[in-house]
């Protein structure tokens, strides 16, 4: 206590005036916050507190005024942190300056120390009783700041200091469950003095810190894959003090955790709770759809998506409105990329697409057509309807959406419409594909996730984009061919298939390396498949026109591309049969039927080979290309074989 003499006490009149002003400001805030959104009021208050602080700092630091000064600093920082949406920039320096003032009053110097070291020094040096409470409160704010910037080590260290300063006898509680959480819980909140009022009590702050720390660590564990730890932390957070919005977020995170642990039903329970707490928590709905998808409950999934779409359509997500009561909220403190991706805001267009895609995948063709048409209409809607195309979006590339729509239309029997939709893809890609596209058969580097098409960018990505355009264009021709075929217009169908095959000739594959190391470029693989399907398609049309020889050629080509393809093989047999080359046909057929395993596992087998299934828009073409007359052909050949042997 002998140090007290060092600081020169300013006149008590000044101190009293400051205290009164601080009190008046706090009182005005309490009166104002009952009235509604406090954005402007908070800004005003922040300015007023800042001004007061500036005035107090005009005098040299003195121990008698420091408690008040630190309290004013606390209040002004609360407004500052509450007012800024999430990024808290200059506050750390403010706290440091406050600590330096404390050291100045004590006659010590704290220059060139980091914030952590500064705290350590201040807590060691300060023995004055009156300063303890304001310092602890400031410590809680510092903790909040470190939490917001994900510096868990620093906050743990600080609270270790705070609790040992408070109770030096107690051993620092080690490891156990979670050190930070137990430290936070063990921290004794300084009693609020009667002299100075706080705009947000330290008790509140402690609760918020506890919940935020649990939530944040839970998210980090979730990201790291330590699911049990994440679960317990998130459960802890859910039990804490927080707003409904945050609680819904925590429940959503819990559901993600349990879903990853293989408990989809529990996940659904959590999501249900999230929606009960806050029905505006729309990400919970899209997560629910994902869980239903995993469970295979198509109806429930579609329903969830439909509800989500409706909710998004009805009230577009507004900017986060802060509740006026708490200045610092958990929303301010918890920022991680994991949270951002979990709570990605879905646009209505995305949800619409998901609905359409799921219906098409499930074979609900009529619904799929409706949704696809809705989606295409939505594209025409103007700028209000955003169509996210970035990496996190649910949407594929736009031409693929068009092709999927065409596929749905075709399956629904609306062939003419399908042709029109495909025509759009054909015309849009016209200028984007060079006459000759020389592509290395195997990519040297791993495929880049986003085919960036920088104009001045590498020729590789440019080539990749051209390749994609070629895929879409040929796929569009393929669809058109099949659609014409369905309409019974064989000549038009043949024209389209021929165009498809013609465009496919633009690609020139070459092998550069001595040995093929990389994997086959997926687009190249896809183009091979399209060529096969196109050849098969044209062959069938030739067959129908009775041009068996041309048909035979196409099927043979098809088999060259994909030697084991059952559809092409079956058609080849049929063509041979129709050309009256029955012996050859029978031999082929026997060979074909000797490998029935491959026929059965065709889809899976192909999938394994290219490590990915074919895109959704090709599925209908695959179906159409399957050989329909398997039974009758088999019977005929078996009859023939029987007669031949006999």
């Amino acid at each position: 206590m002998k140090r007290r003499r060092r600081g020169e006490a300013p006149e008590p009149g000044c101190l009293r005036a400051w205290a009164a002003e601080s009190e008046a400001l706090a009182g005005r805030w309490r009166a104002a916050r009952g009235w509604g959104p406090g954005g402007a009021a908070a800004r005003q208050q922040r300015g007023a507190f800042g001004e007061l602080l500036l005035r107090m700092r005009g005098l040299p630091a003195a121990l008698t005024t420091l408690p008040l000064e630190l309290t004013v600093l606390y209040n002004s920082l609360l407004f500052a942190m509450g007012a800024s949406d999430c990024a808290i920039n200059g506050e750390s320096e403010e706290i440091c300056q406050g600590l330096l003032r404390v050291l100045e009053a004590l006659g010590a110097s704290g220059q060139d120390l980091s914030t952590e070291e500064l705290w350590q020094k201040v807590l060691q040096e300060v023995t004055v009783e009156e300063l303890q409470a304001p310092l602890h409160r400031l410590g809680a704010l510092q903790g909040a700041w470190w939490l917001a910037t994900n510096r868990l080590g620093s906050i743990t260290g600080l609270f270790r200091l705070l609790s040992s300063a408070e109770d030096p006898g107690r051993a620092p509680c080690s490891g156990g469950k979670n050190e930070l959480l137990s430290l936070l819980k063990a921290w004794k909140v300084p009693a609020e003095g009667a002299s100075v009022s706080l705009v947000q009590s330290a008790e509140d702050l402690k609760e918020i810190l506890c919940t935020a720390a649990a939530f944040l660590q839970g998210l980090q564990e979730l990201e790291a894959g330590n699911l049990p730890a994440a679960l317990s932390l998130l459960e802890e957070a859910a039990g804490g003090f927080c707003s409904k919005r945050v609680l819904a977020q925590i429940y959503t995170c819990l559901s993600c955790c349990t879903q990853q642990m293989g408990k989809p039903q529990t996940a659904l329970q959590h999501l249900k709770r999230a929606l009960q707490v806050d029905f505006q928590c729309l990400p919970a709905l899209s997560h629910a759809a994902a869980v239903y998808h995993e469970l295979g409950e198509m109806d429930a999934e579609l329903e969830a998506l439909a509800v989500l779409y409706e909710a998004l359509e009805r009230n577009p997500p507004a900017a986060a409105s802060t509740t006026p009561y708490c200045l610092i909220q958990i929303e301010h403190l918890v920022h991680t990329p994991a949270l951002a991706s979990l709570f990605r805001h879905r646009h209505p267009s995305e949800v619409k697409y998901l609905l359409a895609q799921r219906c098409l995948q499930d074979g609900r063709v009529a619904d799929a057509v409706e949704h696809y048409l809705d989606f295409l209409a939505l594209l025409q809607d103007g700028l209000q309807q955003q169509v996210p195309l970035d990496g996190g979006s649910a949407l594929p590339r736009i031409p693929e959406v068009f092709l999927e729509a065409a596929s749905a239309l075709e399956q629904a029997g609306r062939h003419q419409d399908a042709i029109t939709v495909c025509e759009e893809v054909v015309s849009r890609t016209a200028d984007l594909i060079p006459q000759v596209l020389r592509v290395e058969e195997r990519s040297e580097q791993p495929e880049c996730p986003s085919p960036g098409t920088e104009l001045a960018g590498g020729p590789l990505s440019q080539k990749r984009e051209s390749l994609c355009c070629l895929v879409w264009r040929t796929a569009a021709y393929l669809h058109q061919g099949w659609a014409w075929a369905m309409l019974g217009k064989n000549k038009e169908a043949i024209t389209q298939f021929s165009r498809c095959l013609g465009d496919l000739l633009r690609i020139q594959l070459y092998q550069s390396g001595v040995e093929p190391t990389g994997s086959l470029i997926p687009e190249v693989n896809l183009l091979q498949k399209i060529r096969l399907l196109s050849l098969v398609g044209r062959g069938t049309q030739f067959l129908e026109l009775g041009k068996h020889r041309e048909a035979l050629l196409d099927f043979q080509h098809g088999l060259q591309i994909s030697p084991g393809d059952p559809a092409a093989a079956s058609y080849l047999v049929q063509a041979l049969w129709k050309l009256n080359r029955k012996q050859e046909a029978a031999a082929r057929w026997q060979k074909l039927s000797e490998s029935p395993a491959e026929e059965d596992g065709q889809q899976e087998g192909l999938g394994r080979r290219v490590a990915r299934p074919y895109p959704l828009y090709l599925v209908s073409c695959l179906k159409q290309a399957t050989f329909p007359h398997n039974e009758s052909l088999a019977r005929n050949i078996q009859d023939y074989l029987r007669t031949a042997t006999t």
Binding site: Q249, A340, R397, L455
Partner: protein
């Protein structure tokens, strides 16, 4: 450089700062007949091109960075520095204007200046850098947290009443390594440039797609530049040119980055849909688009001009500040369609640029506006040539000059009709002009006949003659101006040196002293002025030292006319550290009447006419400036006048102490003329009649002067010895008080050396007019009848004036012919009479008079009627 035919009309002038307007922020927009102009200040002007009048001026709260116009509800969107975007409805404003016109001049902004108040701020965001409009959408670009943020907002429909401006989407991106992290303000003086490119079938293109500076881009190029997704979405694209030189494109329909709904800005994982098209490596000042394939299209469908106009542009250009320019055009080759990208180097720095509907781009540098044409048909038919110059863009550009210099904002007028377009330009000096442009086809290709050629040559030759004449004239003028500037510089240096040292010692000083000297065998009082140049600048030719003599006005003379005489001495050159002494006679005892005290003002004068080289008659001019009756030196009429010093020469300084007093011959003749209100007479009269002390102020008519044989006049003054002791503390050590007082009285008299040595209490001398004066100081005992007015019955013949300067310091100044002084107590208020008083000015000063200063003034009255007043010696 070929010249393009043009016609320039000046429309109006707008205020501009001292250094001229700086490019970047000024902006000129044109819609129908109105021109909307901002010149980088806080004003936005609306100018009516048809009526050639300024229609309205809007005063914004801060510097205007960008202006856009939305013609459909007639709204002006104004971005103010560090505050946000303000929306001003022009229709409302014109209604308001009519109202105020009807009401009369009620408003406090008389000339149609409308303040834009904070209510009009629709996007309060201090980080906003620029914005653009696309129909009813506002696209803003701001810089915060080390990133660029592009936001898309929807404007409310006009029928809806004040709904909030809904933010639809936003994207944050950081193009390049560092987006300028130093502070939140843009790091350089360059702002980013935004521009909207639409695909031909863009949504809502049916009715009135509006986007100023925006363009529709033709198909192959649109897909090639922005990708198939944007093309299929038919999304408008925003092109951004950044100060670091990056040219980016953002699809407006896919403006989203992976971010959470709760507004957390941690976008780290995924790339937003922002594509970098090119890097110009210098600040981009302009992005535009051109229609280059005009001729080819015209050949095919010559009559269908309208359809052609709708087709949009086929070439995108971006221009950097230092002259780098990039053009992109689709090259439909046989094997593939590729975007051809070509960089050009223009002569920078480029201040602004504009594109019209044709193939020409106009750009402005400090010295000129130039036009470049990107229309280039690769007409070479032989295959070898094709090899050498492949591509669809010209390999080099040949700029054509328009001969309009330092234009900081350009825009192509939409008013222009029938092929002729009009360029609107705002020059750095704030002048708005239009420049009519004729298309290159109109340039006369006519072949000349020999006769015509001869005439042309003659014209050219005479033109050359004219030009050389003009050049020599201009050269002379320039030389003259240079000289004038040098002189002005010198004058300014001297003025600054003098004016900046108002309080202390002036670097150029003029000290004035009075002396007796023998001139033409006559003793006379002369004044010597010593001009000393202690400054670091030399006084050059052109400076004149003016010395003005001015008899002090006397309070006793009601109708007294201030008589002054000015002497001027031209100074050829006075180098630093040098002195020059000038002497001027005040008049001998015999021939002139000296009106003491004299105020002598010295000043330096520099005629600005001399600077302009037309000041040969400056001396006469100077006399015009300073007529004899001018009370003070005329300070600022056609010249610069720097007062140096003002000095009062009084009787005490002119007294001559000699062993042999002047003989009776020198004594002046008896006064014949009634002097106009001699204060002495007045005083004597007043004293004799024992009138009340304030009688002097009544201005009674003096009696006729005495006949010359009056007894010597005496005047005595009592002063508190305490006061004197106190005041003379420093100089009176070891000397009796009376002697010290006398020494102090005569301190400024050059001839009073005798006093320095001996202890004298009385001294005898001659006044300039020959009168004899005796000064006597003695200490009086207590009880010597302190009367209220302090002048005993014997005290006659002295008129006294007094002035107190800062308390504690005594200074004396006599009233007129008689010598004497009156001191007030230190606390006397400063409002003492300037000149004459017969009574103690304040009750305190004679409270304990211990010292009596008696001034026998024997000869005073005799000289009272001198000859006519002393006038201009200098003539």
């Amino acid at each position: 450089m070929a010249h393009v035919g043009h016609r320039v009309d000046y429309l109006a002038g707008f205020c501009c700062p001292v250094g001229g307007l700086v490019s970047g922020k000024p902006r000129v927009l044109c819609h129908e007949n109105e021109i909307y102009l901002s010149n980088g200040s806080e004003f936005v002007y609306v100018y009516d091109q048809e009526g050639k009048v300024l229609k309205a001026v809007y005063k914004c709260p801060d510097q205007v960075w960008h202006v856009e116009l939305l013609p459909v509800p007639r709204q002006l969107y104004i971005l103010c520095a560090h505050s946000g975007i303000y929306c001003v409805s022009l229709d409302q404003q014109s209604r308001l204007m009519e109202q105020t016109d009807g009401d009369g001049q009620e408003s406090n902004c008389p000339s149609g200046v409308f303040p834009v108040d904070s209510d009009a701020c629709i996007f309060p965001d201090s980080t906003l850098c620029t914005f653009t409009l696309l129909n009813n959408f506002v696209i803003t670009l701001s810089q915060a947290q080390g990133k660029w943020w592009m936001k898309l907002h929807e404007l409310p429909h006009p029928e809806q009443e004040s709904p909030p401006y809904r933010q639809i989407s936003e994207v944050g991106f950081c193009p390049g390594p560092e987006p300028g992290d130093e502070g939140d303000s843009p790091p350089s003086r360059f702002l980013p440039v935004l521009c909207c490119a639409s695909s031909p079938g863009t949504v809502g293109s049916g009715e009135g797609l509006w986007c100023s500076g925006g363009f529709v881009l033709e198909e192959p190029l649109f897909s090639l530049l922005f990708g198939i997704d944007a093309a299929m979405l038919e999304s408008p694209m925003i092109l951004c040119g950044f100060p670091d030189g990056q040219l980016c494109s953002v699809p407006l329909k896919a403006l989203s980055s992976s971010q959470a709904a709760d507004g957390c800005h941690d976008v780290s994982s995924q790339d937003p849909p922002v594509k970098i098209l090119h890097h110009l490596e210098e600040p981009i000042v302009f992005i535009g688009a051109l229609r280059t394939e005009r001729r080819a299209a015209e050949e095919e469908e010559a009559e269908d001009e309208q359809l052609f106009g709708d087709a949009g542009c086929d070439c995108v250009v971006a221009v950097g500040h230092y002259g780098k320019m990039v053009a992109v055009k689709a090259d439909q080759r046989e094997e593939a369609t590729v975007p051809e990208l070509r960089e050009y180097y223009l002569r920078g720095p480029i201040l602004c640029a504009a594109c019209g509907s044709g193939s020409r781009m106009y750009y402005s540098t400090h010295s000129d506006i130039s036009a470049v044409d990107l229309d280039w048909v690769n007409e070479s038919s032989d295959p070898e040539d094709v090899e050498s110059s492949t591509g669809v863009l010209p390999p080099v550009l040949s700029p054509a000059s328009l001969s309009i210099c330092s234009v900081v904002a350009l825009s192509l007028s939409s008013r222009a009709s029938e092929g002729e377009s009009e360029l609107l330009a705002l020059s750095a000096k704030g002048r708005l002009m239009t420049c009519g442009l004729c298309s290159p086809e109109e340039a006369p290709p006519a072949r000349l006949t020999p006769a015509e050629a001869g005439r042309r040559i003659k014209e050219l030759l005479s033109g050359i003659g004219n030009a050389s004449e003009r050049v020599s004239f201009l050269k002379k003028a320039v030389d003259q101006k240079n000289r004038a500037l040098a002189s002005l510089n010198q004058v300014m240096n001297v003025s600054a040196a003098l004016l900046s040292s108002q309080e202390g010692q002036k670097p150029i000083a003029c000290t004035v002293t009075a002396n007796w000297s023998c001139l033409l065998l006559q003793d006379a009082v002369t004044i010597s002025c010593v001009l000393e140049n202690c400054s670091e600048y030399s006084l050059e030719e052109g400076w004149t030292l003016c010395v003005q003599l001015l008899a002090s006005p006397c309070a006793l003379e009601e109708e007294s006319v201030d008589s002054g005489t000015t002497f001027t001495f031209p100074i050829d050159q006075l180098l630093p550290g040098n002195k020059r002494e000038l002497t001027l006679p005040l008049g001998s005892a015999a021939d002139t009447k000296l009106d003491l005290p004299l105020t002598i003002s010295c000043a330096l004068y520099y005629s600005l006419r001399d600077i302009l080289g037309s000041g040969s008659d400056s001396s006469e001019a100077l006399d015009d400036f300073f007529p004899d009756d001018s009370p003070i030196l005329s300070p600022d009429r056609e010249g610069i006048c720097l007062p140096l010093s003002e000095r009062t020469i009084d009787m005490l300084q002119c007294l001559r102490f000699e062993s042999s007093p002047p003989g009776p011959a020198a004594s002046p003749p008896a006064a014949a003329l009634p002097a106009p209100t001699d204060p002495v007479e007045t005083f004597l009269k007043v004293s004799k009649e024992q009138a009340e002390p304030d009688g002097a102020k009544d201005g009674e008519q003096p009696h006729a002067p005495g006949d010359g044989n009056l007894p010597p006049s005496t005047a005595s003054i009592r002063v508190s010895s305490e006061l004197l002791k106190n005041a003379l503390k420093s100089s009176s050590s070891g000397v009796p008080l009376s002697c010290a007082t006398l020494r102090w009285l005569l301190a400024e008299n050059a001839g009073a050396e005798a006093l320095r040595s001996g202890e004298v209490a009385s001294v005898r001398g001659a006044a300039p007019d020959g009168g004899e004066v005796q000064l006597l100081v003695r200490e009086a005992r207590k009880g010597l009848a302190p009367r209220r007015n302090a002048l005993g019955p014997r005290a006659v013949g002295a008129v006294l004036g007094c002035r107190t300067e800062p308390p504690g310091q005594l200074r004396c100044r006599d009233g007129s012919r008689a010598s004497g002084w009156v001191a007030g107590p230190p606390s006397t208020n400063p409002g003492l009479p300037k000149c004459c008083s017969c009574c103690p000015p304040a009750p305190g000063w004679a409270a304990s008079p211990d010292v009596l200063v008696s001034l026998p003034a024997r000869a005073v009255v005799a000289s009272s009627g001198g000859p006519a007043r002393h006038t201009g010696l200098g003539q």
